[in-house]
């Protein structure tokens, strides 16, 4: 016993190092969304005033770029509006509203990247709402505090999104493989789809998160894994995830009904 105590005292620093290093590795291993969600909300709530101040300060210098982005977005939205107004029949359409928001924090270097928006409960933001820009989708709301909300970025290996080929309506599952912040992978697309490089990928609309037909990116490479009947498509994103400013949170007024319907179908 005496020997053991002596040994512990002699190697105290090494034992403390093993303890602290082990604890840090445990933090890394536990780095999943579910465990992080409440911590992210707490982090956002504490740092929101600083992040807002930082956003205000830097946006003064970036106002020219922001203005250009907003002009481009307005133009795009106007075009969409005209297209929709000119359609005689608007099938498959579910009415949705958007909540404008600013990205006050964004990460791109990690495997589980997140964003923070300057809108929260008081603006009508709720969990599992989609976040988009005029160029494409950005992520999904993960947690909401009073004035801010945390978003799972597209650049997060935990996120999977239902997407399809615009030209043929073949569906697949879109995920990030952490290769590059500019590209993702669309898997499970049947070989019957006849995909070529340059095809556009849009949201599938099979959930109450994103409306259908929101642009995502273009196919930049195709691959068929050995002995498989499905494509793995490399998709170059339209939205530059490293340069996000103005985004829109998508709100389906009938989201709860849609979710209930989906649950009912899945339970049958």
């Amino acid at each position: 016993m005496q020997k053991l105590l002596n040994s512990i005292l002699r190697n105290g620093t090494l034992l403390l190092f093993i303890l602290l290093f082990g604890l840090s590795l445990r933090f890394i291993a536990k780095n999943h969304n579910y465990q992080r969600s409440s911590l992210l909300a707490f982090n956002n709530a504490i740092s929101a005033p600083f992040l807002e101040a930082r956003y205000t300060f830097f946006s003064f210098f970036k106002r020219q770029v922001h203005n250009e982005q907003l002009v481009a977005e307005n133009q795009y939205l106007l075009e969409q509006l005209i297209t929709i107004n000119n359609q005689e029949f608007l099938l498959d359409s579910i009415p949705f509203e958007v909540i404008p928001a600013q990205v006050i924090r964004n990460s791109i270097q990690l495997k589980h990247n997140h964003l923070t928006l300057n809108v929260g409960e008081k603006d009508g933001v709720k969990k599992e709402m989609g976040v988009i820009t005029a160029n494409g989708i950005v992520g999904v709301i993960e947690n909401v505090s009073k004035k801010t909300s945390g978003v799972i970025s597209l650049l997060n290996i935990s996120l999977r999104i239902n997407a399809k080929l615009k030209k043929s309506n073949h569906f697949g599952s879109l995920y990030w493989d952490s290769e590059s912040p500019n590209s993702m992978v669309l898997s499970d697309v049947p070989l019957a789809a006849k995909v070529v490089v340059g095809d556009t990928i849009v949201t599938g609309g099979m959930s109450a998160i994103f409306p259908a037909e929101i642009p995502i990116g273009k196919v930049s490479a195709t691959e068929v894994p050995l002995n498989d009947n499905y494509y793995n498509l490399r998709v170059s994103l339209f939205q530059d995830m490293t340069n996000l400013n103005q985004v829109y949170v998508v709100h389906f007024p009938s989201a709860d009904e849609i979710k209930k319907l989906i649950n009912d179908i899945e339970n049958e």
Binding site: S24, I108, K111, N243
Partner: protein, 166 residues
């Protein structure tokens, strides 16, 4: 100035700069210097090793909170806090006891070598923990090199400023 308040001031300034200036997304570049590493270098060498370890752990936790990086910086900081005496012996003298090193009295050249060594080792582990595997060795080496270069340049700038102001 007394040593502890000076350290606390460094801690606040470097973490503020790390959070509100050197953010890759904010700067619009894929990498940004991790200037907070200077805190590990500035920790007094006559402190007991367990205090240095706990300080490294605390610094890492704060940085992980800022970047929401879930333990990556904490692990790298603890590793550096533990192995720091080895770097001191490697750069300054084989016979030098770590507690004899006074950062403010050393030649800039040796001090800079010490900073480079710590930055390189620290950043290698940060990016290794980010990737989680050595499969993506090319990305790991690229990110390690680019980020280390930026941190070394920023650290040199801070060191020159602080030494000139004395």
């Amino acid at each position: 100035m007394n040593r502890l308040p000076k350290l606390i001031l460094w801690f606040l300034v470097l973490l503020f700069v790390q959070a509100f200036v050197f953010d890759p997304v904010l700067l619009g570049i894929p990498y940004a210097p991790f200037v907070y590493v200077l805190l590990l270098i500035f920790l007094p060498n006559d402190w007991a090793p367990w205090i240095v370890l706990l300080s490294g752990f605390f610094i890492g936790i704060c940085v992980d909170f800022i970047f929401f990086s879930g333990g990556i910086h904490t692990a790298a900081c603890v590793l550096i806090a533990y192995t720091r005496p080895l770097f001191i012996r490697a750069v300054f003298s084989d016979t030098m006891a770590p507690q004899d090193l006074k950062i403010e009295h050393e030649f800039f050249g040796s001090l800079f070598q010490y900073v480079i060594l710590i930055v390189l080792v620290h950043h290698f582990f940060v990016f290794l923990f980010v990737v989680g595997t050595i499969d993506r060795l090319e990305w790991l080496l690229g990110a390690w090199f680019a980020n280390s270069l930026l941190t070394i340049l920023a650290s040199a700038f801070v060191l020159i400023l602080t030494r000139n102001s004395k």
